[in-house]
């Protein structure tokens, strides 16, 4: 009887342990399922976020490249045009330099000096110029300048040549006797002063030839 009772207790304990073990396994399985589900959801979320982020970055990069190409294309066209303008201006400089020895240059120089004298609007002024151009400015030339300027201004004007030093560039600079005011009509300064008009004129020609 006692042995039977012991066996019943043991089998009861065993059954209970078995039940407990089954329950633990079942709970573990449920937990595994839940974890797997949650991980799979997490995985999907991460993948979706990554996809969204990748698409965003892809768009960003594509936009950036398209926009850079558009900008660079525009810059390239402008640079080419600018190179053409610079070449034309430098050709003009060379052309003007080659004219110094020609007879018609005397007239050009005369106009530059008269223009500078009117710009200064002084009764006395000094001409500074390059060594090559000094050869053109003789007594007769100065008399003609003084006559023309006096006529235009309606006042007696005396313009002299500065014999002491000469300019390194082509053109003339007129100075007041006291050195307080000057009017530069060198080729360089004339180009810089009229740069906007020159560039516009060249552009108009380029545009019309493009069309």
């Amino acid at each position: 009887m006692e042995q039977k009772g012991q066996q019943a207790v043991i089998s009861g304990i065993f059954e209970e342990a078995q039940k407990k073990a089954d329950e633990i396994v079942r709970t573990a399985n449920v937990q595994i399922d839940e974890h797997q589900k949650s991980w799979s959801i997490q995985k999907e979320n991460i993948l979706r976020d990554a996809e969204v982020e990748a698409t965003r970055r892809e768009n960003e990069k594509r936009n950036s490249i398209i926009s850079q190409i558009a900008v660079e294309k525009k810059r390239k066209a402008l640079r080419e045009r600018e190179a053409l303008i610079n070449k034309l201006i430098s050709d003009t400089r060379a052309h003007m330099a080659s004219k110094i020895d020609k007879p018609e240059y005397r007239h050009i120089l005369l106009n530059w000096i008269i223009e500078a004298a009117i710009g200064l609007n002084l009764s006395r002024a000094i001409i500074r110029t390059s060594a090559a151009e000094k050869k053109i400015i003789n007594r007769d030339f100065l008399d003609l300048v003084n006559k023309r300027v006096s006529e235009i201004r309606g006042n007696e004007t005396v313009i002299k040549l500065d014999e002491s030093d000469h300019l390194s560039c082509q053109g003339v600079v007129l100075n007041a006797e006291d050195g307080s005011v000057a009017f530069s009509n060198t080729v360089n300064d004339r180009i810089i002063r009229n740069q906007s008009d020159i560039r516009q004129a060249i552009n108009k020609i380029i545009d019309s030839s493009d069309n």
């Binding site: 558009a70 009017f183 552009n203």
Partner: protein, 471 residues
């Protein structure tokens, strides 16, 4: 002898070539020169140093004996006897052309992107021309920015000038860049351009904007005028003017819808104060010149729409309020001129809310004419009004709760507290790459308002409540 009037004209043209050798005084960015011919206010001046390098300046003041010239690029390296001045007989003009989009210029309109100077047959005075008030078109077109708190409560209208009042360290640049990226007119493919004027900001901020324009693919539609923190402060005076000159050409001559972003206007005002002090003018509030208001108006009024022109200029000036003080002369005077303002709240920013737009002090004065039926949605005006009213009550309840504690609040007040939190967390707060359309913004606003009992929503009609409440 040539006729006097003809001689006068020739003489006037030739005055551009006259160079005055030596100046009387150099004081900061100001040069005083004596015994010149008669020159005009704001006349452009070329200031030539001993190496024949030219800096640009502008006539500030003249008298019978002396002329005061403000040199934009600074006077460092100039000497009294070695400085030459040439008066150009005209104000500062810049060439303007569509090809300037996609390029970077300094404050004076000279390219700094390594490219050539802009090519154009048109040159315009940077000081602009006053717009005939009767020629102005009343702005009515709603611009969707994709930012709920702006679209629903402080609507931006095409042609409006809507400043951002911010503070140091607040994300105003992010917001401006987001607006520039996302702004669109609903149902319309518009020909738009962005003109960006940087006034005394740092390189990294300028870079942030350039990167942002680049990544959104609009860089070729943006012209940048940069006068950064390390550039002479005086250049900042002219920078917004050059930027607006291009904007006017793009809008009124080329028919584009132009968004002008100017940051930071506080730096502009600082430069104005600096010049005013050097000129010895009688200071007004906080040392700013008495003409600060009219000077700012000169800039801000260069926006809007003109009858017969298909383009428009919408301005988005950004200013940082010193010490977050909205009564400081800069935000104060700006507020008088512009059509509303977006005000940033440091507390909201510290709570991680982006954009930290303070609901109550922000407003758009043109909003009422650009929202509602056929423009946004029929319930929009009442909904916006209700949001303002309810959020205003939330502020009162929060103040009360800070004194008596949350537990002592009534059930209704607790609902308001919940509404306030939800309003800030869901409606105001959004990612800086999140582009919400107006319907989405209004729907979120309804969801927030549905926290409150319907009888509290007194500014909304019964029909609107039936259609949207609790949905």
């Amino acid at each position: 002898m040539i006729k006097t009037d003809k001689l006068d004209k020739i003489h006037k043209d030739l005055l551009k070539g006259r160079e005055y050798i030596g100046v009387h005084q150099i004081d900061g960015p100001i040069i005083i020169i004596r015994n010149t011919h008669q020159v005009g206010y704001r006349e452009l001046v070329e200031c030539i140093d001993q190496n024949r390098q030219v800096r640009l300046g502008m006539v500030l003041d003249t008298s019978k004996t002396a002329v005061a010239v403000q040199v934009f690029e600074g006077t460092s390296g100039l000497t009294l006897p070695g400085t030459r001045m040439r008066f150009k007989g005209e104000p500062l003009m810049i060439p303007v052309d569509v090809s300037m989009l996609g390029r970077v210029f300094n404050g004076l309109g000279n390219p700094i992107d390594g490219g050539p100077p802009p090519i154009s047959a048109i040159e315009k005075d940077v000081n602009g021309l006053p717009v005939n008030p009767t020629a102005r078109e009343y702005p009515r077109d709603f611009i969707q920015t994709g930012i709920s708190v702006i679209d629903a409560m402080n609507t931006l209208i095409r042609g409006q000038k809507l400043p951002i009042f911010s503070g140091n360290g607040l994300p105003h640049n992010q917001l401006a860049a987001q607006i520039a990226r996302q702004a669109t007119l609903r149902g319309e493919k518009t020909d738009f351009a962005v003109v960006f004027a940087a006034l005394g900001i740092k390189h990294d901020i300028a870079r942030y904007f350039i990167d942002s324009f680049e990544s959104s693919g609009v860089l070729d539609k943006v012209a940048l005028f940069l006068s950064l923190a390390d550039d002479p402060s005086i250049e900042r005076i002219i920078t917004p003017r050059t930027a607006l000159t291009l904007a006017e050409h793009l809008a009124y001559d080329c028919g584009k819808h132009v968004l002008v972003i100017m940051t930071d206007m506080s730096n502009y005002c600082e430069s104005l104060r600096e010049i005013s002090t050097i000129r010895g003018e009688i200071p007004s509030r906080k040392g700013y010149p008495g003409y600060l208001y009219s000077d700012l108006a000169e800039l801000y009024e260069r926006s809007g729409m003109i009858k017969g022109c298909s383009g428009s200029i919408t301005q988005l000036p950004i200013l940082t309020m010193p010490n977050d003080d909205i009564s400081h002369p800069i935000p104060d005077l700006t507020g008088y001129i512009t059509e509303g303002q977006i005000v940033f709240d440091r507390d909201m920013n510290s709570r991680g809310i982006y954009p930290p737009v303070a609901g109550l002090p922000s407003l758009s004065r043109l909003m009422k004419d650009g929202i509602g039926e056929d423009m946004t949605r029929i319930d929009h005006p009442h909904l916006a009004s209700q949001l303002f009213a309810s959020y205003s009550y939330v502020k009162d309840v929060r103040n009360l709760a800070s004194v008596i504690g949350d537990e002592e609040l009534t059930a209704l007040d607790k609902q308001y507290m919940e509404f306030g939190d939800e309003f800030e967390r869901r409606f105001v707060n959004q990612r800086n790459d999140e582009n919400r359309d107006i319907e989405e913004s209004l729907d979120i606003a309804w969801q927030c308002l549905s926290i409150l009992p319907p009888e509290e929503l007194t500014r909304i009609t019964e029909d609107e409540l039936d259609e949207h409440y609790g949905r």
